[in-house]
């Protein structure tokens, strides 16, 4: 692994994104609009907005980066640039880490701007520190990127890659505890959700919102970080230097 090559990949991914200002605008604007809609729908001081606002802020980067990364990586595979890269002195981890860093930086911008809107203008309150919400959002973005890289190996077309988003993300969103508390779920659903990384990502955000930063919070963060490492390892395994 080489920091120089990792930085080269990250820089290139950001340069590609810069050529696509509409995507950047969507990455920033969509969560802002959703946060605004949520506030308007339920009201500034409603318990629903106060409960869902922070998790939405923290989970949105996961969804956005999952999509963007899986498509970008699929393009690398289908246009032959990946094959080209595999003949160069570039470790697979350099490629994956480069993507992760690039989209983490995008997530910093995204989460910061949405936070300014939500905390500053829309009246969202969290009992814990607001910067922690932004930090968790960035971690979730990296998790989304690495998972997106991994699943892109199973898509042959961009249509398939897009469908992986609802397939991989929606079940996790439904069972993470946002809609129904996990204690109130049927046992089998609680067991299934224990295997979903988003469950821990949501729990960390919910605990930040209620300033409950104890051992469970630490465990949540550890699981999210562990899943990032696992997704990178699995992603690296799907990158083959030799193919048919």
């Amino acid at each position: 692994m080489s920091p120089r090559v990792t930085a080269a990949v990250a820089r290139r991914v950001l340069e590609q994104l810069r050529r696509d200002p509409r995507t950047i605008a969507l990455i920033i604007a969509v969560p802002c609009v959703l946060e605004f809609l949520l506030q308007q729908l339920f009201g500034r001081n409603s318990p629903v907005f106060q409960k869902v606002g922070a998790p939405l802020l923290g989970l949105f980067p996961f969804i956005a980066m999952f999509l963007v990364t899986s498509i970008t990586m699929l393009r690398e595979r289908t246009t032959g640039t990946l094959e080209r890269l595999m003949t160069l002195p570039l470790a697979k981890v350099d490629l994956l880490a480069g993507y992760g860093i690039a989209f983490a930086l995008v997530a910093v911008v995204q989460a910061t701007l949405v936070s300014i809107l939500a905390f500053g203008l829309l009246g969202l309150n969290v009992a814990g520190p607001e910067w922690l919400v932004v930090l968790l959002a960035v971690a979730n973005a990296v998790l989304g990127s690495t998972l997106g890289l991994f699943v892109s190996a199973f898509a042959q077309t961009e249509f398939q890659a897009v469908q992986f988003m609802p397939a991989v993300v929606f079940p996790q969103l439904l069972l993470c505890g946002l809609f129904v508390a996990r204690d109130e779920m049927a046992t089998w659903m609680r067991v299934v959700s224990a295997f979903f990384p988003l469950t821990y990502a949501y729990d960390a955000l919910a605990r930040t919102a209620s300033d409950d930063l104890g051992a469970r919070f630490a465990l949540d963060v550890a699981v999210v970080l562990g899943c990032i490492v696992l997704a990178v390892v699995l992603g690296a395994a799907t990158l083959r230097r030799r193919t048919d």
Partner: protein
């Protein structure tokens, strides 16, 4: 002189179909060797095996004294894929800078590669806005970066105008004079005359390994595409 590439009984199966049933051949160091044959004859598959991205069912390929695909070769082998493998949403210069950074090359290497393929007036253009031939040259330029000892070029001149094609073949010979080896595939026989040595491939089998002059002598015909036909008929 030792061979830059030596394949021995190379056996490749792709998608259940045998593409190369057992190819043995050599590419001489510091030469321009043409890999010629019709589309579907296994040229790209052989080149992929040489650069080490092709899964191989049997046999060996030795490149610059090491097994093909060895990590020590990744700085010494330049590879141009058949479809331009560059980033369409980046400019010519951004593409080359990226590959140069991966190879840890100084900045002037980028300008030199761009000049080699005569794209100086397009450095700031986004690759997707270029013509097919220009895009192929960007891809070629990335393969030239770092002056590799072996250049593996998959149909680098396809779709280019005749003047540009001549310029590129002159460039290939200049590179070979500096001591590098070039393995260049083409499906048009009129490019055969521009090569020092030829590997003629058909249905994954080596029809001949010879210089253009030897090929003429062996078949008794002047036109190389006619000579190719004679060899095919003789083999059947």
């Amino acid at each position: 002189m030792s061979a830059a590439v030596r394949a021995d009984g190379l056996h490749v199966v792709r998608g259940g179909v045998t593409v190369l049933p057992g190819l043995s051949c050599e590419v001489a160091t510091a030469s321009v060797t043409g890999l010629l044959g019709p589309s579907g004859s296994g040229k790209s598959t052989f080149l992929r095996a040489v650069v080490g991205v092709q899964r191989v069912a049997g046999g060996t390929v030795e490149v610059l004294g090491a097994p093909a695909g060895s990590s020590t070769l990744r700085r010494r082998v330049g590879y141009m894929t058949q479809a331009p493998s560059v980033y369409g949403d980046l400019t010519v210069e951004e593409n080359l800078r990226f590959f140069a950074r991966v190879l840890a090359l100084p900045r002037d290497a980028v300008a030199r590669a761009i000049a080699d393929v005569s794209l100086e007036s397009f450095t700031g253009r986004v690759v997707n806005t270029l013509s097919g031939g220009q895009r192929a040259r960007v891809s070629l330029a990335t393969a030239l970066l770092g002056s590799p000892d072996l250049l593996v070029l998959d149909e680098p001149t396809v779709g280019l105008d005749p003047v540009l094609r001549r310029d590129l073949w002159e460039l290939f010979h200049r590179i070979a004079e500096r001591g590098a080896t070039l393995l260049v595939s083409s499906h048009v026989m009129d490019e055969a005359d521009r090569c020092d040595a030829l590997l003629l491939l058909r249905d994954g089998k080596l029809l001949a390994q010879a210089t253009p002059a030897e090929l003429r002598g062996r078949t008794g015909v002047e036109q190389l595409d006619e000579a190719f036909l004679r060899l095919v008929e003789a083999a059947e």
